[in-house]
Symmetry: C2
Subunit: 307 residues, 2 copies
């Protein structure tokens, strides 16, 4: 089944201990769709400027990603500049230029309307809600957000959460959203705001899946996937979006959403996040193959299973 | 097979968001031996003062721990005061009084000399080495250390590392010891200093086991055990020592040290660490049963396994 994703397609200038890259293709919707494209059909809704040309277009085309929902307008594409020099787990933002994104009004192509899966990447919750409401018949809706919206746009974000089946956020965001430092209590509080399922990402330590209906003992309805211990993290940009793409892409390709499917989806999320970190920008995702992905899935099994 | 452990038996005053406890029984050797006692016979080498009486003695006796190697001397026992008010993952030390520990000269009872497993808890590396050399025939030696020894007593610590089969330390300690922020690279550097096996503990995110002979692909010879997502961490004091006790205690009880035995040992380590956090001091370890331990082991399996 196909996924429609709305989010940013952008240029990033990134500095890490491994080096510096100027204006490489980035944005949450880019990482998400490249990652998910290894599992299912993906359709993107975004806005780009004049600086988005055939070269960038070809990155999506090579993965058969539907870009009819990427609006081309006059001006410059969204631009972000950040570094990870002191801490590979947290970006330091040096510059953010919204550019054409400042007046983004998502338009959903008719051909996208039969998508059964919808992913609302990290953008203004007002826009997330607009897209959600324009696609009322989707089977499963997942989304992401960030500190900026949690702190400064809470009422709009709370409206979005009501319409989500799955929320994917990191530790800091979960604690901030819930106002609670204990992750288990924070997870419960966040799920009470709407999402039945919650994925909390722990950076280099993996991610935890919570299922809201769990009323049993500690550990029930909870699943923890590790991250791969990597010898070199070249660039962590987009790892979380790549995780979301692997997780949601795998789910969209399943005939049934069983508890086992969610567990395997967590592993595929971690697998895709690990690949994203291996080179700058989307380089590794562009050169990846499904056999490589499945081989790494087995490495994750070996890393975690007793027998 | 029995384990001999050398380390501190102490009094701790602890403050956490859950409350405050004055002078409860603590110390690395105490947590380690209580935890390991659920798996195998344990013998303790330590020193205590006049303030260590029948009540404290009975805590060890109740778990059939051999305390003939606990030397009683004039003065006060080692005392530590700390809090975890801002961050449950890291203690803030308010006071440390070495007291009788300042002149500790470990004496190994004759009855301990047939122990096949030796654990060198976190104490002065000069003392760790002395005990190690006095027990040359042990089959497997594991040990712990901390920032204080890594920074200020490096040459003595390096001598200890040469005689260790297994080192158990946390992320910060591994990075500091290796002078490398990447955990995989740090693990390799630490193992080059002596230990064939390395356990790096990640606090609430679990722990990773590295095996030095691994020359294959990323992930081979590496095993990651999660920590249990706990609804309330009452007191994290001693969680790392309890992890070590479960890990090493389980190993000591196995007929053969297979790769599978190390994997299960990692789970038992995490299981014991999770129990230790549930109440203040050693309260939970004192009231624990083996069936509870094995039931939680199954919760860990459920938390991490695909099928």
């Amino acid at each position: 089944m196909s996924i429609t994703v709305v989010g940013s397609v952008a240029y990033d200038t990134i500095e890490t201990p491994a080096g510096r890259r100027e204006r490489c293709l980035g944005g949450a919707a880019t990482y998400f769709s490249l990652s998910a494209s290894f599992f299912t059909d993906v359709r993107v809704i975004a806005v780009v400027g004049d600086d988005f040309g055939p070269e960038q277009q070809s990155v999506f085309a090579a993965r058969n990603i539907d870009t009819r929902g990427i609006e081309h307008t006059t001006g410059k594409s969204f631009f972000w500049e950040g570094s990870y020099l002191e801490n590979l787990n947290e970006a330091r933002t040096h510059n953010t230029e919204l550019n054409v994104f400042a007046s983004f009004d998502p338009k959903i192509p008719g051909a996208y309307r039969d998508s059964e899966f919808l992913f609302l990447a990290n953008i203004d919750p007002v826009l997330q809600r607009r897209v959600r409401e324009a696609m009322p018949d989707v089977k499963l809706v997942a989304g992401d957000t960030m500190n900026y919206w949690i702190n400064g746009h809470r009422p709009a974000l709370l409206e979005v959460l009501k319409g989500l089946d799955i929320l994917l956020i990191n530790d800091t965001e979960a604690r901030m959203l819930a106002g609670n430092n204990n992750l288990v209590q924070a997870a419960r509080a966040v799920m009470a705001l709407g999402p039945r399922f919650l994925v909390i990402k722990h950076g280099e330590y993996g991610a935890t899946f919570f299922h809201g209906s769990g009323k049993g003992k500690t550990g029930e309805h909870t699943f923890r996937a590790p991250a791969l211990p990597l010898e070199q993290v070249v660039d962590p940009t987009g790892a979380g979006d790549s995780f979301a793409g692997g997780f949601f892409g795998y789910l969209a390709a399943q005939p049934e959403l069983t508890p086992g499917a969610f567990r395997r989806a967590m592993f595929y999320g971690s697998v895709m996040g690990s690949f994203a970190c291996e080179r700058f920008g989307t380089d590794r995702l562009q050169q990846l193959s499904r056999p490589e992905i499945d081989a790494r899935f087995e490495v994750f099994r070996e890393l975690t299973h007793l027998d």
